[in-house]
């Protein structure tokens, strides 16, 4: 098992900074997600680790050794590409054995190892098929087997499940994680899908505009986002903007808001975030008190297991999420009061 570390990595494309002084440690044996919108630089970082992008400044350490300028083929890093990049002219066997044969592994040895890999990805007996004869999910497994058979130090995955339909994607998420654990390899994967990042990874780094926004375990980032961007990109959030007055956040049009943790200095602006599922709704007439906002149901989005309410308030449109536990569902136009605990109110940076 190996550790990858990026130190002050910078890469520009013309005037655009794809990566701006990014430093990040990918711990041993963990499944690490690089999460961000398209164009955020997450793919550039992955490609820099793979060796397809040469950073202008900074180091990329693999087990302590700088590989930033080592050609890709000398890094011993496995990669699963977005569209799998299976060699169309080769059989499944030749695809998986490719990494072995270019290293001069004997045919017999290669056969044995490819066989084992196909068992691992649950595709035994598929050796002689051509990639185009496989389904999307099967191609994905072959790509994974091909990347793992050379026993690389690190496994990189570029939007690995993006091309699959939703149900298959959920199955593959579980399987991918099982295989990663079984092999015990350090894995880094790039995604723009927050749900995928939450379910698959042990650690998440949120990247935006070439900069690191926040790093942490999924639940840690979810419950304690540091910025408006992190709060909004990983999950959904109600954002309230106000000013610190008497140790509490005064939000114009909504009354006082009490939050967990340290506030900015007295008199300065403050932003807080509240997750929609932490909001309780009631049909009371008045909204006096702390952490209470009056509003009117604008839309109720029913999805079977839950209802998401979109509520018009004096401080803009806010959301509340309720499990469908048999409670009454509010109708459009009904007056409601939103209420939540200070414990669930997080101070974030703009």
């Amino acid at each position: 098992m190996s550790v990858v570390e990026a130190r002050h990595v910078t890469k520009r494309y013309g005037e655009v900074r794809a990566l701006d002084d990014v430093s990040l440690v990918f711990p041993e044996g963990r499944f690490f997600a690089l999460l961000g919108p398209s164009g955020s630089g997450k793919t550039t970082l992955l490609r820099a680790v793979a060796g397809f992008v040469e950073p202008e400044a900074g180091e990329i350490l693999l087990d302590g050794e700088d590989i930033a300028h080592t050609p890709a083929h000398r890094r011993n890093i496995g990669m699963v590409f977005q569209n799998y990049a299976l060699f169309p002219h080769m059989s499944v066997f030749d695809n998986i054995a490719f990494g072995l044969t270019v290293r001069g592994t004997s045919r017999a040895d290669a056969r044995e190892r490819v066989h084992r890999m196909l068992e691992l990805v649950r595709l035994p007996g598929m050796e002689q098929r051509k990639p185009r004869q496989l389904s999307g999910g099967q191609q994905q497994r072959v790509a994974l087997a091909r990347a793992l058979v050379t026993e690389p130090k690190v496994l990189l995955l570029d939007e690995p499940l993006g091309a699959l339909d939703k149900r298959l994607r959920q199955e593959m998420q579980i399987e991918l994680k099982q295989i990663q654990r079984a092999v015990g390899i350090t894995a880094i994967f790039v995604t723009h899908d927050q749900e995928e990042a939450l379910t698959l990874s042990d650690q998440i780094a949120i990247i935006n505009e070439g900069k690191l926004v926040q790093v942490g375990a999924p639940n840690e980032i979810y419950e304690n986002p540091h910025s408006v961007f992190a709060a909004g990109f990983l999950g959904d959030a109600n954002i309230l903007r106000g000013r610190v007055e008497n140790g509490i956040v005064a939000v114009e049009g909504a009354g006082p808001v009490a939050a967990r943790g340290a506030l900015p200095p007295e008199g300065s602006p403050a932003v807080v975030a509240v997750r929609p599922e932490k909001v309780r709704l009631s049909a009371e007439a008045s909204a006096e008190g702390v952490n209470r906002i009056a509003g009117r149901i604008f839309q109720a989005v029913f999805s079977g297991t839950s209802v998401t309410y979109i509520i018009e308030t004096a401080v803009g449109t806010q959301r509340a999420f309720r499990q469908n536990a048999g409670e009454r569902i509010y109708g459009v136009g009904e007056a409601v009061v939103m209420e939540w605990s200070p414990e669930h109110t997080v101070v974030v940076e703009e």
Partner: protein
């Protein structure tokens, strides 16, 4: 009445359309068919009624001028195919895989040889080759044919190149293949259908090339189209029909193979 016309009119229009298309095909193939047929007619003056004879084909076997010209044509076409395919594929690979300054200009430079009338290119080659002492002959025809074939090779291989991204080569690199291994074991096999198609095209460009060869052929040395041209001017015999028939069927056969390989024409 209304519904009748609704059903009948399109069907009538369809029939007319098909008939029109059939007429176009007759127009395109009739002269070629006549040419081929007349090569099998007994009479020198294409006199009808038609009397089947293979004597003109037999006469071909004894015609040294035409045989030498055929040999020259095939020789130049083969050499042209090898040279144009190799250096054209190299250029197509670089243009397809790398982004660099001057790339757009290089792509635009492919179009003059295709769009400028061959009359102008051919005479210009004559001027330069004569002036510099390269002279006329099979060697200068080869120089010219390769120049005309290169843009087509680069475009056809380039189209194949564009159909797969750099990921395949990156995948090979991530699996430990050196750039040279990646090229021979991944890029080249994947490009192969395009390369074969391009080489067929290059062969046809040279084999059918008349204009350039016409200006660069010295007296006494000749290739098939030039020989056919002078035979027509001198007052032709069905022998010319015979060799022309062979030429056109060879070139159509090659292009048929090209079409199958490259699937040109937007049919995926």
């Amino acid at each position: 009445m209304q519904t009748m016309s609704h059903r009948l009119l399109p069907r009538f229009a369809d029939g007319m359309g098909r008939a029109f298309l059939a007429l176009i095909l007759v127009f395109l193939y009739l002269p070629i068919a006549v040419l081929a047929l007349m090569g099998f007619n007994e009479s020198v003056h294409y006199a009808l009624p038609f009397e089947f004879s293979t004597k003109w084909y037999e006469a071909l076997a004894g015609n040294d001028r035409l045989l030498t010209a055929s040999f020259n044509s095939v020789w130049i076409a083969v050499a042209n195919t090898v040279i144009a395919t190799v250096i054209g594929t190299m250029a197509a690979f670089a243009l397809g895989r790398f982004r660099f300054r001057g790339r757009t200009v290089m792509q635009l430079l492919l179009f003059p040889p295709i769009t400028i009338p061959w009359l102008i290119i051919g005479t210009a080659m004559l001027v330069l080759f004569f002036w510099t002492g390269v002279g006329r002959g099979l060697h200068s025809m080869l120089l010219g044919h390769v120049a005309l074939s290169l843009p087509y090779v680069i475009i056809v291989v380039g189209a194949r190149m564009a159909s797969f991204g750099p990921e395949l080569e990156e995948a090979a690199a991530s699996l430990g293949a050196t750039p040279v291994q990646a090229f021979w074991r991944v890029s080249l096999p994947v490009l192969m259908p395009g390369i074969v198609a391009a080489s067929l095209f290059a062969f046809a460009v040279s084999f059918d090339q008349f204009v350039i060869s016409y200006f660069l052929a010295p007296p006494g040395t000749s290739v098939l189209p030039v020989e056919i041209f002078s035979a027509i001017r001198k007052g032709f015999t069905p022998e010319v029909n015979a060799i022309s028939t062979i030429v056109i069927f060879v070139s159509m056969g090659i292009m048929l193979a090209f079409a199958r390989l490259s699937k040109f024409g937007g049919e995926r």
